[in-house]
């Protein structure tokens, strides 16, 4: 089972996802903001990061955090799964989706929309962890 770092500002999302992740044997650590991210990530040494996009202090904090982690030598090998409530399927003439994953805009390994079915989340986590091992 894996060490998963969950970065989200919503305590209820953290608690509900922790129920699912811990219930499947993962060790979950939590951060509610993206300050001092690299140091925090190095300290917890996760196998995978689950990252929100919009934070109260910055609507694009998640993007910035993903770019920071993907560029830093100490963290760039850690797979990132973005979990956001606003995406292209929201039909708002802006937003983003898995198709927008790219090295410069959204350098992450997967994207899922909140709320996410536990089965889908667990499958995606397993796939990312397997890919990271190869």
């Amino acid at each position: 089972m894996a060490r998963i770092l969950l970065i989200d500002d919503d305590q209820d999302i953290i608690d509900s996802l922790t129920l699912v992740l811990a219930g499947n044997g993962h060790a979950v650590t939590v951060r509610m903001d993206t300050a001092d991210l690299v140091a925090g990530v190095r300290q917890t040494d996760p196998d995978l990061v689950i990252l929100d996009i919009m934070f109260p202090e910055d609507a694009q904090a998640g993007f910035k955090a993903a770019r920071l982690l993907s560029q830093h030598p100490a963290t760039r090998e850690i797979p990132i799964l973005v979990l956001s409530a606003v995406n292209q399927r929201s039909n708002l003439s802006f937003g983003f989706s898995e198709a927008d994953i790219s090295a410069d805009f959204m350098p992450v390994q997967a994207f899922l929309e909140k709320p996410v079915e536990p089965r889908i989340l667990l499958e995606r986590i397993d796939r990312l962890l397997r890919q990271a091992q190869h």
Binding site: S16, L19, A59, A85, N91, L92, K114
Partner: protein, 479 residues
């Protein structure tokens, strides 16, 4: 946009005055420079024609005139020579041509034109022909090319060039030239200093009035253009700000529902211990209600976003409708299959290029197709197609065999939140926003939407788009 709203957005005149460029922009000046050079070749040809005419005395004498061809020859050579130089300098300069060089080139062209016109006017007997009128277009162009002060200086140069030959003639410094052939009565203007002075003053006055009027109008138009540009920039900023605020508002509204739904999933899947069946059913209903509320919130925000958009603020590109429709039909098949509903796509014979954005087309088609699937009976069929109409339009239709719409409610179905009685009975969970979204999308696309329906037999929605003609590059779906 209405007048008062636009006026409210227009920046103050004082502020704009300070920011408004005093002359045309560099790219416009460069266009005018090349146009000026090309147009001058027409003047060269006309001078050549004048020379040929003057070289054949029977032709010129037929009008009672005697013109020395050497004036035409000199002006033709000067115009052609200087024009070649200007063209070469413009071609060899770094591209885009720097603004100071553009101004120098245009100034030189106008001044050499004045000198050529002065020579031609002298050779054509000064006031004996209306050749001096040709100074006027240059004065008008100067107000476009240069600042107001610079164009005034150009106008003074025009006055000098137009009047100098007649003044020098009157003073006896240069010989008097008359084109009136022998045997005809010559005009006595050159012989009278008073008439010469009066004439020169009249020319000066006419040129100055021309400069004043045109420069005032040009200045006013330039100011208005700047104000409109600033207003447009403000609109774009407002649009960006609106998008940011909407994104944040959507997030703030959706996030709590996402959290509730996350708990629902955790409860449903037993992560908080086993649930008795009645409790499980309640949890599932909480989740369904949560989904519907989220859909409704998203729909309202989307509709408000579309409603406040102007067709001009959307960048429409030429897209082939056919592959986009095929993709949407494929997506609509997912909810249709469990109910054994068949979607039949009839392809058009040729590409169907329209001006649109993929996002707007997605909104429109997904709502029409989703509606058709929802309001079809299980096992029914939906026909979807495209055809080119003879009047230059492209028609897209979605025809179902579903519940239909009562005739007295047809005119209300595009109103948000309205749902016909039979629609509510067939599907209690609809949000009443799908067709309102379709109508707003159609408005932004400059298209038309129509519906025909009979209760119990089905509905046919048709959207009519303008066909993109010409050589516009047509884009297919990127992915």
């Amino acid at each position: 946009m209405t007048g008062p709203r636009l006026r409210g957005l227009l920046p103050s005149t004082e502020g704009t005055l300070a920011r408004c460029p005093e002359t045309l922009r560099a790219n416009e000046l460069a266009e005018r420079l090349h146009w000026f050079i090309h147009t001058r070749w027409i003047a060269v040809l006309l001078c050549l024609a004048g020379m040929v005419w003057a070289l054949h005395p029977p032709w010129s004498h037929a009008f009672g005139l005697h013109v020395d061809y050497r004036f035409f020859l000199t002006v033709t050579l000067c115009l052609a020579g200087t024009n070649l130089i200007y063209g070469r300098v413009a071609r060899q300069a770094e591209q885009p041509v720097p603004r100071p060089l553009l101004h120098r080139l245009l100034r030189a062209q106008v001044l050499t034109d004045f000198l050529n016109l002065a020579l031609l006017s002298y050779g054509l007997g000064g006031i004996e022909t209306p050749i001096l009128i040709l100074f006027m277009p240059h004065i008008i162009l100067s107000t476009l090319f240069f600042t107001r002060i610079q164009s005034l200086a150009m106008t003074l140069a025009a006055i000098l060039c137009a009047t100098l030959p007649m003044v020098l003639e009157a003073a006896g410094i240069i010989p008097t030239v008359s084109i009136v052939a022998a045997g005809h009565k010559a005009l006595p203007i050159g012989a009278s200093p008073v008439i010469t002075a009066g004439y020169a003053l009249a020319i000066a006055g006419a040129f100055l009035v021309c400069w004043y009027l045109v420069s005032a109008i040009t200045f006013s138009l330039r100011l208005r253009e700047c104000q409109l540009e600033e207003a447009f920039a403000q609109l774009q900023l407002l649009d960006q700000e609106k998008s940011r605020v909407t994104l944040r508002a959507t997030h703030e509204l959706k996030a709590p529902f996402a959290a509730i739904k996350s708990y629902v999933y955790a409860l449903r899947d037993g992560y908080c211990g086993p649930l008795p069946d009645p409790a499980r059913q309640v949890v599932l209903r909480i989740g369904e209600r949560c989904d519907r509320l989220m859909d409704k919130i998203t729909g309202i925000i989307h509709l408000s976003n579309l409603r406040s958009a102007s067709p001009r603020t959307r960048e429409l590109t030429a897209l082939d409708l056919q592959p986009l429709l095929a993709r949407e039909v494929q997506e609509a098949q997912l909810p249709a299959t469990p109910r054994h509903i068949t979607l039949r796509l009839q392809d058009a014979a040729a590409p169907c290029p329209i001006l649109a954005t993929e996002e707007l087309i997605h909104t429109l088609l997904s709502n029409l197709l989703t509606n058709a699937v929802i309001y079809s009976h299980d096992g029914g069929a939906i026909d979807v197609g495209l055809e080119e109409e003879p009047n230059g339009w492209i028609a897209l239709w979605v025809q179902d065999q579903g519940i239909g719409i009562p005739e007295d409610q047809l005119d209300r179905i595009f109103t948000e939140h309205f749902r016909s009685n039979n629609a509510v009975q067939h599907n209690p969970n609809g949000n009443g926003l799908g067709l309102a979204l379709a109508r707003e999308t159609v408005r932004l696309l400059g298209a038309r939407i129509a519906v025909q329906s009979r209760p119990g037999q089905g509905s046919r929605f048709s959207v009519h788009f303008r066909h993109v003609s010409g050589h516009t590059e047509i884009l297919g779906p990127p992915r």
